[in-house]
């Protein structure tokens, strides 16, 4: 079932001036319930402009966004409703913490929903637990947290809104490898537990690898849309638009160029390891 539909979505910045720039150009997309979708593309390809429309922060120049079939730009009320149902975590959200305590910061969104105190409490605790932030931090100032904790507190503030669609722009940028892995795990776990949908904007091919579906943007348009194995099989096109392949897909391409017969849709280390070992065993290689 479709959760969100983008119909002919177009956004032109500084229209009618010499700086006029079409950031996104006539985009049609359907996001289904329960999916984890990766949105990839180089800087300036239109990703950030696109996601700013999903919770009505930007109004389109043309086209629209439907949430459960309703136009989110129809009225002030529908725009406000979209902001509650679609949670957006922008890049480096830790710079947007502003309340006096961690608890108050996470509770800011639910308070705006005019929920009662018991429900606000429940949501703050649950959101903090999802991101792995201990309740011992609740009375601290957000400024006293470590960088990684601040990031998680900021994300918890959006989770506490219990959005149906969670959009994150580069949530793992600047984290160490274990921190990146840990945060992705927590987000996937949250999506699963809440039966929600996630749209992940990322440059990290290891994160893109784990999505159900990838949307590749280039020059304000959707250049590719499909399962990771289908997208990563188009290595030449990805490289041509300035994107990386996951390391496994890259090595597989180099091996094919050497005449090694590997299946076309390898993109994880597990798959590549298996495929190489299968060829090696066929050649008579035996485990020692």
């Amino acid at each position: 079932m479709s959760l969100m539909e983008l119909r002919g979505l177009t956004h032109v910045y500084s229209q009618g001036t010499p700086f006029e720039k079409t950031a996104i150009d006539n985009i049609d997309l359907t996001l289904r319930h329960g999916q984890t979708v990766g949105l990839i593309g180089h800087t300036g390809s239109g990703k950030s402009t696109l996601i700013s429309h999903l919770n009505a922060l930007l109004k389109p120049t043309a086209g629209t966004v439907l949430l459960d079939g309703e136009d989110i730009f129809a009225s002030k009320a529908s725009m406000r409703a979209a902001r509650f149902r679609v949670g957006v975590v922008f890049q480096y959200p830790e710079y947007q913490l502003f309340e006096e305590t961690v608890f108050a910061d996470i509770a800011f969104g639910p308070k705006n929903l005019k929920l009662d105190q018991g429900e606000i409490d429940r949501r703050v605790r649950e959101a903090a637990a999802f991101v792995g932030l201990g309740e011992d931090t609740f009375r601290q100032s957000p400024l006293e947290l470590s960088g990684g904790q601040k990031r998680r507190a900021a994300i918890a503030g959006v989770l506490a809104m219990e959005p149906e669609l969670l959009v994150l722009d580069e949530p793992t940028a600047g984290l160490d490898p274990a921190g990146r892995e840990d945060l992705l795990e927590k987000l996937f776990h949250w999506r699963e537990a809440r039966q929600a949908s996630v749209l992940l904007v990322t440059h990290d091919m290891a994160a893109a690898n784990r999505c159900d579906r990838l949307i590749v943007m280039d020059h304000g348009r959707v250049a590719m849309d499909g399962a990771p194995e289908a997208v990563f099989a188009r290595g030449d096109e990805l490289t041509a638009i300035g994107l990386d392949l996951p390391a496994a897909a890259h090595i597989a391409r180099l091996l094919r160029a050497r005449g090694i017969d590997l299946p076309p849709s390898l993109y994880t280390l597990d798959q590549l390891t298996e495929a190489i070992l299968a060829l090696w065993r066929r050649k008579g290689g035996t485990p020692c």
């Binding site: 990146r180 996951p246 390391a247 090696w280």
Partner: protein, 277 residues
């Protein structure tokens, strides 16, 4: 030959912090080498970087830049000329409205004469591949281009050492490649010493030497080929190994006998191709 930077037993604790950010660190940085510094968030990497050009001064121990002690106020200017820093956020480092004015900013402040400034700015912009865009407005550039302008601004001071603190964290893959290719070329072709702080293992794999930090100490120090085969030790430090290293490790665990130290995808494919060929 003397090290261009000599770090002797330095310790540093931030005000109100429960423990030291640097704890008895010693390190010699040799001229013309490319050194990558790895470590988890909070391991002390950035604190160490800020000691290399006297942004921070050690509470104990000494940092000598080209023989000058960073604690000596009279040496501050010559130290800053020798050691330039590039930070993570490309938008915080640009001051002028035109690319070439931005690059000229530091030499102008140093009182370099105009003809020499012109020469240095042009040379620096060529070295980072931004000469063609010298009259553009910096805010309209991509992240990778902005970081290359920031690097050019430092090159125009004619430094010996370039310190980069996660310069690619906010960039897309193409921007990352542009910046790392530029930095590597400055080291290989111009002999500039590079200290690169990064969370990306594939960037560190291109260095001559990797220094791994944990809890304010240096815990590993060696060539990438020596460091990356130690996958378990690295993972225990919240780090990782390049995918090439991991692939070879898995293939060898299943019985193939491949040299485990290939770091580039090309070398890795060549080894596997030979074994299957």
């Amino acid at each position: 030959m003397d090290p261009v930077i000599r770090i002797k037993n330095i310790s540093y604790t931030y005000p109100d912090a429960p423990g030291p950010a640097l704890n008895d660190v010693s390190l010699d940085i040799w001229p013309g080498t490319f050194v990558a510094v790895l470590g988890s968030n909070g391991s002390g990497k950035s604190t160490l970087a800020k000691h290399l050009n006297a942004i921070l001064l050690p509470a104990a121990g000494k940092v000598l830049v080209d023989g000058m002690d960073t604690i000596d106020e009279g040496s501050l200017l010559p130290i800053r000329r020798r050691v330039g820093m590039v930070f993570q956020n490309p938008d915080n480092q640009i001051v002028a409205n035109v690319v070439e004015d931005d690059v000229a900013f530091a030499p102008e402040n140093l009182g370099v004469e105009p003809g020499e400034i012109r020469r240095r700015v042009d040379a620096a912009l060529r070295q980072v591949g931004m000469y063609e865009l010298r009259l553009h407005a910096p805010h309209l550039l991509s992240g990778g281009q902005k970081q290359r302008v920031a690097i050019a601004g430092i090159l125009a001071m004619d430094p010996q050492v370039l310190v980069l603190d996660e310069p690619t964290a906010m960039l897309d893959p193409q921007g990352r490649r542009e910046v790392i290719d530029t930095v590597e070329a400055l080291c290989r072709d111009r002999g500039i010493t590079v200290v690169l702080i990064t969370h990306h293992m594939d960037e560190a794999a291109r260095a001559d030497r990797i220094v791994v930090m944990d809890k304010g100490r240096v815990v590993m120090d060696g060539a990438p080929r020596e460091i990356f085969p130690q996958a378990e030790a690295l993972r225990a430090l919240r780090l990782d190994v390049p995918d090439t290293t991991e692939l070879l490790r898995r293939l060898n665990a299943a019985g193939m006998r491949l040299p485990a130290d290939a770091l580039t995808a090309e070398d890795c494919a060549a080894l596997i191709g030979e074994a299957l060929g």
